[in-house]
Symmetry: C2
Subunit: 294 residues, 2 copies
């Protein structure tokens, strides 16, 4: 037997020695995952040649990241987000046919039981922020309107906070709502102009961003989950293209097709109709859903 047959580890055969131990694994997918993870980890180590001290720094970084996770904080998801891994997994799982709206990350602020509201309702419950009216159509890739599409929308307020981050300050379910389209596929509702906000940056991931010279901000956006019978569910955002962070979203969620137009409107008659007091923002944005077979 040579060193390889004996299973002894060397720099040269490190990947084969480690992955060959999984020969009898019954879960073929897990075996494959660990084969790739081991190979890529070893490739990274061989390319970087970390010192023992650097290796220990990495161990302690992962440990601090784990210790920062609790019931309401998921620092490993944040790490995945800032390294573009979350967006990559999203992209791979949501390759859309031509013409369909693109997806982006769900984020941690969705709430399952937001109230269903009549079309046109104002989801801003505390009258804070700059008024905004948002509308558009839910369409198939054939351009036909989709009836009974369910639009679940949520957004941060004008200071960059979601209701769940400011319990007792914002009303429950502030800036959240569920709407259902009629035969024309049209949706519309009233809200406030959202603002950019930082991801939680007081933990190990925030410190890493700081050490890399990166800011923690996400450009202003509204979140959507759009469901309709016979169509693939779409989880996405629309973004304000004039946001200062539009080209440097800390979690890489921006796509060209997700830029909406935020138009400022000065029209007292229309404002009055909408229950607004002065200038307001207007966004028109259609969403196109793909069918599973497309």
């Amino acid at each position: 037997m040579d060193a390889h047959e004996k299973g002894f580890f060397t720099e040269e055969n490190s990947v084969e020695v480690v992955t060959s131990r999984n020969a009898t694994a019954t879960d073929q997918r897990l075996k494959r995952v660990m084969e790739v993870v081991t190979r890529k980890l070893h490739e990274a180590v061989k390319e970087l040649e970390p010192t023992q001290e650097e290796w220990m720094e990495a161990i302690l970084f992962l440990t601090r990241t784990g210790h920062t996770c609790n019931e309401w904080r998921q620092e490993f998801i944040l790490l995945s987000d800032v390294l573009g891994v979350s967006m990559l997994v999203d992209a791979i799982n949501n390759r859309k046919p031509s013409g369909a709206s693109e997806s982006t990350v769900l984020g941690p602020f969705h709430v399952a039981d937001a109230p269903e509201l009549p079309m046109g309702a104002n989801i801003c419950l505390d009258q804070k922020g700059e008024d905004m009216v948002i509308g558009g159509h839910i369409l198939g890739t054939d351009g036909r309107p989709i009836a009974n599409a369910v639009i679940d929308v949520w957004q941060a307020n004008d200071e960059g906070f979601y209701d769940v981050q400011q319990k007792g300050i914002q009303p429950d379910f502030n800036l959240r709502g569920v709407f259902r389209t009629g035969a024309d596929g049209r949706y519309w509702f009233r809200a406030v102009k959202p603002k950019y906000y930082p991801i939680p940056d007081d933990g190990p991931v925030g410190k890493l961003l700081g050490a890399l010279g990166r800011h923690p901000y996400r450009p202003a956006h509204l979140h959507y989950i759009i469901k309709a019978h016979g169509f693939e569910t779409l989880t996405t955002h629309i973004f304000d293209p004039d946001d200062p962070y539009i080209h440097s979203d800390a979690v890489f969620g921006v796509k060209e097709s997700l830029l909406a137009k935020f138009q400022q409107v000065e029209d007292p008659v229309r404002a009055n109709e909408l229950g607004f007091l002065g200038k307001f923002w207007q966004v028109e944005h259609d969403f196109v859903l793909a069918r599973p077979e497309e």
Copy 2:
């Protein structure tokens, strides 16, 4: 501007978009580390195409691993160990000139303040296990003995436990000792034959090993740190080549050159000299230290 210039993320340009954010990092080594880590992570994701559920499983595995770490348990080091990463980092940092003894992992059971003992002392303080006498020389690569070499040795007992794992059961500093060579470079001490033992396998890493069909055992070994003025410090083990797990060390620590000969001796006169009652084990093993300039 095309999508790339705008910094918008796509499957194709994911690595470049993420790593270009670190352009202004002042710590060049950290920048390089994150460039390689990001690239290898994205390569792994692109090769595996994980589902959202698999991604979440990975997040939760890392979270559980972090939550298992505490003052006396380091589950991320264990993860690094079972994936061969610890041994790879050790190998990269301890490339030895021809003829020098090879290193292996330190492990978590070293204690800094073990007592210095007179040459020949018995480090077994509780008379449990099969008697063993171990000796050899500390040499330079030129074959000359090294005087004043300090040999820090520690081992598990005949049931596979270190003293620090059985406080109150084993005496403090059981099976540990520090010896110093004379002009002849010779060392020797008495001990007991060590036994294979499992790495801690009641946490996420143990569960992963189980799911991969891997056992958690390390073959029987003694640990050494050998220091001498003018030479590189050597952190290593010697292993029992007849151990049932010698070809499948859970942490990949075995190297061909670290196999010692554990000979059973039946010699009443010699046993009597050593203070042993019957048959005993004998190990002769030389260690060769490299100079930094070699």
